[in-house]
Symmetry: none
Subunit: 217 residues, 4 copies
């Protein structure tokens, strides 16, 4: 790896040093306590890797507030304890059984490249995503049941936004299939929440399971 791994670019070093001299310094006692006593976050958030979705900022989070898993299209796979590595399932297991978070929030968003790719793949427009070797495609398979629910929509923009919301609903539905999630909910030690964020308008909608739809928060 000698010639492959490089030093951090200078502008990131500079910004980090600025952060350390200000935000860290002002908050040092809290960092010390968090290091010494361990984290104790009230919530886990599952959001997309997208660079335009910053849930810590949007929720005014303090250091230690949010146990945050981010993956492509904020997807939770079905419960499958097959002995293979499952990063998302491991993060959920850790949050619910070790950290005992009180809230588990799935955050979808507009303009999601992963969801757009899923739509194209399921519609047969991106055969390269259907190949066994496509990590993106095999990950987006998780959203195929959601696609079935929107496939007859005719307006492409509406269909994409609908599938972005289905990614949240599908993930919530898969979450319930994890026995430790189910039992934490039944013990009233955990509640689930679903959100969808509109990047352009800064708007946030919450999933209302009674209405089977999303409403402005």
């Amino acid at each position: 790896m000698e010639r492959l791994v490089k030093p951090l670019p200078a502008y990131l070093v500079g910004r980090y040093q600025g952060w350390k001299a200000t935000s860290y310094e002002e908050n040092k006692s809290w960092y010390r306590r968090l290091a010494d006593e361990g984290q104790r976050p009230p919530m886990m958030v599952i959001a997309c890797c997208d660079s335009r979705v910053n849930v810590n900022e949007m929720f005014g989070a303090q250091t230690g507030d949010i146990f945050l898993h981010r993956n492509i299209a904020n997807l939770v796979p079905p419960y499958e304890p097959d002995g293979d590595p499952h990063g998302t399932s491991a993060a959920i297991e850790y949050a619910v059984t070790v950290l005992k978070v009180a809230h588990l929030i799935v955050v979808g968003h507009s303009n999601c490249g992963g969801v757009a790719g899923c739509l194209d793949m399921c519609a047969g427009k991106m055969p390269e995503l259907e190949e066994k070797s496509s990590f993106i495609g095999r990950w987006l398979d998780i959203l195929r049941p959601g696609y079935e629910r929107v496939k007859d929509m005719t307006d492409p923009d509406e269909q994409k936004r609908a599938l972005e919301r289905e990614a949240v609903v599908e993930s919530l539905s898969n979450l319930i299939g994890f026995p430790f999630v189910q039992s934490a909910i039944e013990a009233e030690e955990l509640s689930l929440h679903g959100l969808w964020f509109d990047i352009r308008e800064g708007a946030l909608e919450g999933y209302n399971p009674q209405a089977k739809g999303f409403e402005p928060v």
Copy 2:
């Protein structure tokens, strides 16, 4: 799901609305442009889900700057195109082949619960993590080669910190095994970086492959 999914707690609604009226409002034109033209982040960061590690804040990031994947112990699994869903590999594939990020930065950290669990599991102290059904255990298997490199250390604190750094090194090493990562590096269109963050001290160390060790940035 009717009785399982709940509305967002009021304090998060309140903080979100405050964010929208201030940060979003000041930066609205940039959100609009990001929504209309798509994201173009210069870097992908792979960090831990830990609530005490906020790389956006530490790097003074602007919305759109960091494509961020977070999983337990900031691990990258080996390249395995077996047709199963691999969330981390999908995120890397998307960042490198679709977004064409220039930097891929793995950020480890002190006090990592995942790394501590790996240490206990490999030392035979947590048999429940060795079960086939343990998502946490099967995910932490990725770090077993790193454990081999630190297993003879006698001071437990030093050993844990060493394994936290090995989690970064192992991930960098696995990253190089992805053909699309390899070819982007060879084309000088991508560079890799490894960091380790000390929560208590706010300190940051960078991996120096020549010295095969970490040094303050």
Copy 3:
């Protein structure tokens, strides 16, 4: 030009080569992407040529972050499409209509030689600046309306600082007169910001249009 244009002094060659071997090398993949895909800066900054005002450094900017126009006293002339060359207006037109920047920030500063010259000229103390052939004087004419607003101040230091701030306000006011600036603001695709930087104290103040004054950021 044979005898008039000389090679670069050796100390600048040396510093450049050091930069290339370090900063450029660490960040090479980003330079390549910027060259291949073009710039996409979120902001344009209009600052003074003064050697003591480095907005890239002050804002921790990454290469590609700031489209930067610098002229004497950070002035924006009124909108005047008369077919003559207007360098400042051309830079603004390029930033707003071609690059579609989200933020346009005017940065004034303390100890501004241009503003001091304007004050002396308007007070009749520097007749040479009033000559038709004085480029400095004819450029500083842009700030005459600002002088009218401070001319009755009696403390010379306060008056100079007031006129430095008026240079920012006058520029913002002239910016709004450009039709393409106006329409980008109305579409919420552009926002204006005014700052004043104190070189001695490193302090930064922002223009608050409601208070019609500057406040620490």
Copy 4:
């Protein structure tokens, strides 16, 4: 302007505060001296507004080192003391007659959007740039004599790079037409330099007037 001018986005405030707590603080005594005694830069640089060209970084500049004018395509217009405002000429006059800089350096660069626009305009491909109301077009008129020297080139990439270099040569040639530049050179108090920077490769070339061409520095 009440509803048009906004506060600075929070991420810029944060980065500025980080800079103040580190770079400024470490360098405070120099800022104080620069504020109290005035600037005394050894050089003026004329560069493009392009966000990818940071001459302060490339030349390892200290605060106070470079009096910096940046405009579209790093152009110097011909000497024209007609009583109209000329921002570039004013900056040059201030640098040479007030600050008495020892070096005046024109820096061109690859991938220049302004030069590409000039090429298209002169080739009749962008009639909108030929309109009287186009600030960009009227500014790029300065480079028309340079276009005449490259118009017969057949390879479009070579032609663009040639015109980027001509922008430097034309500016140097116009500089010599300013009487105060001419007399400062004759008194051996000022020397001119021309450079062209390749963004992709980080390479720098200097103008050699004897060879009438550019050579690596």
